[in-house]
Amino acid sequence: MQLVIDKVSKCYSGGNWALKGFTLELNPGVLGLLGPNGAGKTTLMSILATITRATEGRVTWNGSDVAANPDELRTALGFLPQDFGVYPNLNVVEFLEYLAAVKGLDAATSRRRIDELLSLVNLADVRKRPLGDYSGGMKQRVGIAQALLNDPQLLIVDEPTAGLDPEERVRFRNLLSDLSGERIVILSTHIVSDVEATATDIALIAQGTLVAHASPEELLRRVEGKVWEWVLPSAELNVAKQKYLISNTSRRGDGVHARVLADAPPVGAQPVTPNLEDAYLFCLAHHRAGVAA
């Protein structure tokens, strides 16, 4: 099972390049696709989900060109888009039965699968309610359920935890981890903690290009010895922000505790253990510095 993204670019009308020469090879596991807003994540997801065509480059699924044979990938695909709608007059079972029919699943299998999925996403109690009555978080769970309907080998989820409460978010992360065994999961998000909890691989994307592709451990190693905690008076914080890359601040009795990313520590700063958010910000800052240079 392999998904290969080979020098994929996407240009929208007006000459706006959302992706430029993006290359990545994916094998079973959870890939966390991280990037700032407007980085090109959703465009990449749409290309991989066969919603839109790449302007340049190609995507292959198990060696088969997706442009030539999209249905091979679609049959194996579960897709949770960032924005999607539901039919408000149907209840969740009817909606999932409909999508199961569209995906070509037989009625008996899909019925059993829908029961399990509703239990999994905690919607069994509201199965008879029209979808028009659902809250945003509940609709998001319907989206998660539909993505898993066909037991997909390739699961693409775009900002899946948007609108979920903390409890549901944890459940979804656990679910992703459980699902990741023999399938490729692509989790696109800008929430680092979601990726931290589930991803076996991380791809950082910015301005339509791949900034880094590594395991979480490897990314953390890149910032080892570059993260510092610095206690400074609140009045000096603004000056410090202009001089250093600060990933976090918290106000305490002795001043502001700033988490600083730098090769050399500010005077009086103490080294701390880096986390993925530090690594993410560090890689992005390096990328931007490289582009600016």
Partner: protein, 524 residues
């Protein structure tokens, strides 16, 4: 002053948002088409066998009537989405959190609608001098006579159309497809009332017609009451007469201005029904009595009531033993059919059943024709969802990323629509079978093919249900109801029946739908 500025900014933003959409080009193209139709003689204003000399007064008045007739109908459907757009873009929620009053909002939307419609009238006005030049029957240009009808007739007509569109959007029953169908009949009634009672109708037909008829009677006393604005009848207008225009007396102008007052009053009335984007007031007619009141309009209420208990160990998922994506076409047709009919209230089925039975047992063929005509208008809103549902409910990404969607889902939608036509018109077909009236049966079959084909093609290409609701209603009125040649897709009379034409048209429409969906998908 402050209020005027706020109103101006609201109208301006809404107007710019509309005119910067590609669809607005179609709107202007429609106005340009009307101008071309007037110039070429495709659209002709006729008083029996007479028409006026193409001087400034005649050209200005003819173009104005063309505008008020067609734009008050088509324009209504074009602008009847001002409030809906604020809902869809969620801008409405932001507006609702400001001190903006309801009256202010409906007035602003009326003015914005009016600006769009007035722009279409302006396109016609701008082309009027060229038409006079092109026809070259009178080279004496009189700007006042040319433009006065646009000002005194066109502008009030557009104002009332703009306000009625806002009113329809605020009334719960009329804001959806039902309103689109009903407006056509309101529009017809508006003209009929003016004509029968001889009062100043909103489109200004009576005021202009009276003046033209009086002028013609002076020259040709034998002239009867015929007055028509029609398509392709230019050969019937064999004689010409000179008309110098309406004498715009203060009384007439005041009468016309009353329509602007009526438009403002309509906007105020609309504000009484405007939900101000409060989800607990923005109820849907279809779902009104279906769900508990609190939960019906606000998902949060339901979410709070049934917020899930934590289940730490959900059941594991059963792996699929059969491959996904295998062709189960009829299962999909069943799902599409259910999707189409889901949400209809019980009385919808009762009426459909009543029409079905009546079309089977009506004693005469004429009566059966009439009942079938009604039976095939009743499901218009069911058909109008075809091809547009995915766009309307934003489910494209879910459906278009499934395997063989184009080859399976789109045909399944069409078959489901065809099944609805077969069932609702089935009683009539059964009767024809019994009496072995094969020609009428073929015409009925052609109609059953044509309706879902038209719905699917319009739905796929427009992405909304509105074009089908408007076009089908007009088609149904002209053809099955009034037996206009070429429009009778049911074949209500042997003279107007064209089954082969409609079977061929159906094939073309289905192909257009397939092609339309194909170009919207990245991959077939």
């Amino acid at each position: 002053m402050k209020h005027a500025r706020i109103l101006y900014q609201m109208v301006r933003a809404d107007f710019l948002e509309r005119v910067r959409r590609y669809s607005f080009l179609l709107t202007l193209a429609f106005a340009a088409y009307l101008a071309w139709g007037s110039a070429s003689g495709l659209i002709v204003l006729r008083l029996g066998e007479y028409r006026g000399v193409f001087n400034s007064a005649w050209v200005g008045s003819m173009m104005t009537l063309v505008g008020t007739l067609f734009i008050s109908l088509v324009g209504f459907y074009i602008v009847k989405n001002a409030i809906l757009r604020d809902e869809q873009t969620r801008v409405g929620r932001i507006l609702a959190s400001t001190p903006m009053s309801r009256v202010f909002y409906t007035l602003a939307k009326t003015l914005s609608n009016f600006a769009v419609l007035a722009l279409m009238i302006a396109v016609l006005a701008a082309t009027a001098p060229f038409i006079q030049f092109f026809r070259a029957e009178d080279t004496h240009y009189q700007l006042g006579r040319l433009l006065a009808p646009f000002l005194w007739v066109g502008i009030p007509a557009m104002a009332i159309t703009a306000a009625v569109a806002v009113l329809f959007e605020t009334l719960p029953v009329l804001r959806g497809g039902v309103g689109n169908v009903i407006y056509f009949f309101v529009w017809v009634a508006g003209f009929a009332l003016g004509h029968e009672k001889g009062i100043d109708d909103f489109a200004g037909f009576e005021v202009i017609a009276r003046s033209m008829q009086a002028a013609l009677r002076k020259v040709y006393p034998a002239y009867k009451e015929d007055f028509s604005l029609s398509l392709g009848d230019s050969i019937l207008a064999t004689k010409r007469f000179l008309w110098t225009g309406v004498d715009w007396t203060p009384a007439i102008v005041l009468h016309r201005m009353l329509w602007i007052l009526a438009a403002l009053a309509t906007a105020v009335v609309a504000s009484l029904f405007f939900h101000r984007f409060d989800p607990s007031r923005a109820w849907s007619f279809r779902r009104a009595s279906k769900s508990p009141a609190a939960a019906r309009t606000n998902g949060d209420a339901l979410a709070t009531a049934v917020e899930p208990r934590v289940r730490p160990s959900p059941r594991p998922l059963t792996p699929l033993t059969q491959g996904a994506g295998e062709t189960r076409f009829w299962q999909l047709v069943g799902s599409e059919l259910r999707l189409m009919l889901k949400g209809q209230r019980w009385w919808w089925y009762v009426v459909a059943l009543g029409l079905l039975i009546a079309s089977a047992v009506s004693p005469t063929v004429a009566a059966r024709d009439g009942v079938l005509t009604a039976a095939w208008l009743w499901p218009a809103l069911v058909w109008s969802q075809m091809g547009a549902r995915e766009s309307r409910y934003a489910t494209q990404s879910l459906i278009f990323s499934s395997a063989r969607t184009l080859q399976r889902q789109l045909p399944a939608v069409w078959v489901a629509g065809f099944v609805v036509a077969l069932i609702t018109g089935g009683g009539y077909a059964l009767r024809l079978l019994v009496i072995a009236d094969w020609h009428r049966l073929l015409a009925w079959f052609a109609g059953a093919l044509f309706i879902p084909s038209l719905a699917l093609a319009l739905g796929v290409w427009s992405g909304t249900s509105k074009p089908f609701e408007a076009i089908y209603t007009v088609w149904w009125y002209l053809g099955p109801l009034n037996h206009a040649p070429g429009f009778d897709f049911i074949g209500t009379t042997s003279a107007t029946s064209r089954p082969v034409l409609y079977i061929v048209s159906s094939a073309i429409l289905v192909s257009a739908a397939y092609f339309g969906r194909r170009v919207r998908m990245a991959y077939a």
